[in-house]
């Protein structure tokens, strides 16, 4: 990896702000974004089975089921940044995370890792990318292989990739376990001998064991009890400081996102509807969907509130509405919203939103 010396003038405004706020400086060897997504798209098709094809021959009109789970997403994540990705079920946030982590391949569009197009990476470079981007999963009960000891769960990948030797493996694994604040002497146990929170720590240790730069957290605290959730969130923040990690933090819980993220991206049915620095987004939400989401978050400070609820259901991704996907539920929908999907436009510095309301003359 080439390292280029950086001067203070190289810092973007966001980085400078963080640097000024006493936060850790970005990794020295990366000049641009760690991860950049351009027009990233993932389409899931359920091809017709034999029976359906036979029925079609007889005149039935059964269509292939096509879901655009992620639809043309542009996003860049700067080194050291925590980007929160929020949205409700079916918005494609998990699919997006899995593409970034290399578990799913994109149908269209590109992922750039430290400025290089991932699709073109081969051999060693490809492996370096794969290891540099790791994922923490939602379910601590299915994310660990139940038939492997902790030692093997954490130690398998570093051994396979030559990050440690067989002789040093035990110490290596124990170091990883200590890093996530687990007792290293538990390394010979099996996953079922641990609680949910401890398993999540093991999952984090497994990811850290291959020395990643970028971590995708997919609802990583959603399955945990509140008190355990706080422990894991604190651990994430600690590790970020210690290891200069960059996070893509996917969550349906805006409270968690608000607490952790520097920047927030809101998705709805596969598209990004709004993106801004966290304070900006929570203080001045632009998109009506974001506004509705923020209104609906239960807060511990709000007592005996009267819930209003935004109208309507989340549409099926199999059959999304025309134009702006949110228009059937939007209180401000205009005729144009039914026709044209609004593009993401900058509404304030670093704040983008996809809503036709911004085009109205002020």
């Amino acid at each position: 990896m080439l390292s280029s010396p950086r001067s203070a003038t190289d810092l973007t405004s966001g980085e400078a702000a963080r640097a000024a706020a006493g936060l850790r400086l970005v990794a020295p060897d990366a000049a641009g974004p760690v991860i950049e997504l351009r027009g990233l798209t993932r389409v899931f098709r359920k091809p017709l089975d034999f029976a359906a094809r036979a029925a079609n021959l007889l005149g039935a009109d059964i269509r292939e089921e096509v879901v655009r789970a992620v639809d043309g997403v542009d996003l860049s994540v700067q080194p050291g940044e925590v980007v929160g990705l929020a949205g409700e079920s079916g918005c494609g946030k998990s699919t997006l995370g899995r593409m970034v982590a290399g578990i799913l391949s994109p149908s269209a569009g590109d992922i750039y890792f430290e400025g290089r197009r991932v699709a073109e990476l081969k051999g060693q470079a490809r492996r370096d990318y794969a290891l540099a981007v790791q994922m923490i999963f939602q379910d601590p009960y299915t994310s660990l292989n139940p038939r492997m000891r902790i030692r093997d769960i954490v130690g398998e990948a570093p051994l396979v990739h030559g990050l440690t030797s067989r002789a040093e493996l035990k110490a290596y694994v124990r170091e990883m376990l200590s890093r996530v604040r687990m007792d290293p002497q538990y390394d010979t146990r099996y996953p079922h001998q641990f609680s949910g929170g401890q398993r999540q720590r093991i999952g984090i240790a497994r990811a850290l064991a291959v020395k990643p730069k970028f971590i995708v957290c997919d609802e990583a605290v959603a399955a945990l009890d509140v008190s355990i959730q706080a422990q894991i969130l604190n651990l994430f923040m600690e590790l970020r400081e210690q290891l200069s990690l960059t996070y893509l933090f996917i969550s349906h819980d805006l409270g968690v996102i608000n607490h952790l993220a520097d920047r927030v991206v809101i998705m709805y049915l596969g598209r990004v509807v709004e993106e801004a620095e966290t304070d900006e987004l929570f203080a001045r939400p632009n998109h009506p969907y974001t506004t509705a989401l923020l209104d609906e978050i239960p807060r511990i400070e709000t007592r005996r509130r009267v819930y209003q609820g935004i109208k309507g259901e989340i549409p099926s991704p199999l059959n999304p509405p025309s134009g702006c996907y949110f228009h059937p539920r939007c209180p401000h929908a205009m005729p144009v919203c039914r026709e044209v999907a609004p593009p993401l436009k900058t509404v304030a510095p670093g704040h983008r939103s996809a809503c036709h309301l911004n085009d109205r003359p002020a």
Binding site: E88, S89, S195, G197, Q198, D225, V226, S227, I228, Q229, A230, Q231, L233, N234, M237, E238, H252, D253, L254, G255, V256, N258, H259, L260, T278, F282, A292, L293, D295, E296, I297, P298, R299, I300, E301, T302, R303, R304, R305, V306, Y307, Q308, G309, I310, E313, I314
Partner: protein
Amino acid sequence: MTAAVLNVEHLRTHYFTRAGVVKAVEDVSFEVRRGKVLGLVGESGSGKSVTGYSIMGLVDHPGRIVGGRILYNGTDLLALSEPEMRRLRGSRIAMIFQDPMMTLNPVLRIETQMVEAVLAHEPMSRQAARRRARDALGQVGIPSPDERLQAYPHQFSGGMRQRVVIAIAMLHNPDVIIADEATTALDVTIQGQILSEVQRLCQSHSTGLIWITHDLAVVAGIADEICVMYAGRVVERGTVDDVLDHPAHPYTFGLIGSVPSRNERGQPLRQIRGTTPSLANLPQGCAFRPRCFRANEICTNEPETMSISSRRETRCFHPLVAQPT
């Protein structure tokens, strides 16, 4: 002050397992008043759900209610025979589960299920029962209820299914509804809709509601009174404002601190150390002792429930001095 419709007094529900006696609910007391919402808050294994099942008389083997009373309008439910209990269950006291499919039968139309639910407790013509079912669906905000009655459960979205379940629970205008994590599996915007329906219905029918959840923020928005449970016991009870603004029990204090809130962004959350204990292997004395920052030797004794002020109790030797958090 409205009268209590349900009084739970020193309820004890134990599970007799091979590994030993699991005291899932131990000495739990609270009351539910008409038109009011009681939030029953706790993490997994706190006994909050088992408390709900105990009131409904739905505790399965190897569990058994071994002590206490559950007074519904003055009658002890634990003294009732199974047929008597069955008459109350679903008509006077109803329960809503996290998974709507606990209530709904996947192979029957909604109409069939709702009409049966009506007829089980009130003799009337099928026509009248159908009308009642349709009106109930309309009440919980399901569009075109006549058509939707013909549908099967899988044809509804998760949120709509939960509405159907609420409609079934409300069919007989019950005095008490027990909702066990009823919105936990739903998206935020859908959760808001359901909470608003439940709130409206319970107020207009003056139904007492027990809202069981792990989510303090949801409880903050909906409840009038809160019971915080830990390891089978109520560790703190009081009005929402008292408990959330001036928690007395260190566990409640820690739990509130664990909720990410915008005031302290980027700062470490005030976490509770350690993990939830196994009910089969509780520490001696106060079950929260190993995780508590105020614990000392006296905590190896069992703390008794003590009253702080009227309608305000805690079970702790070192309650926190009430001061704003």
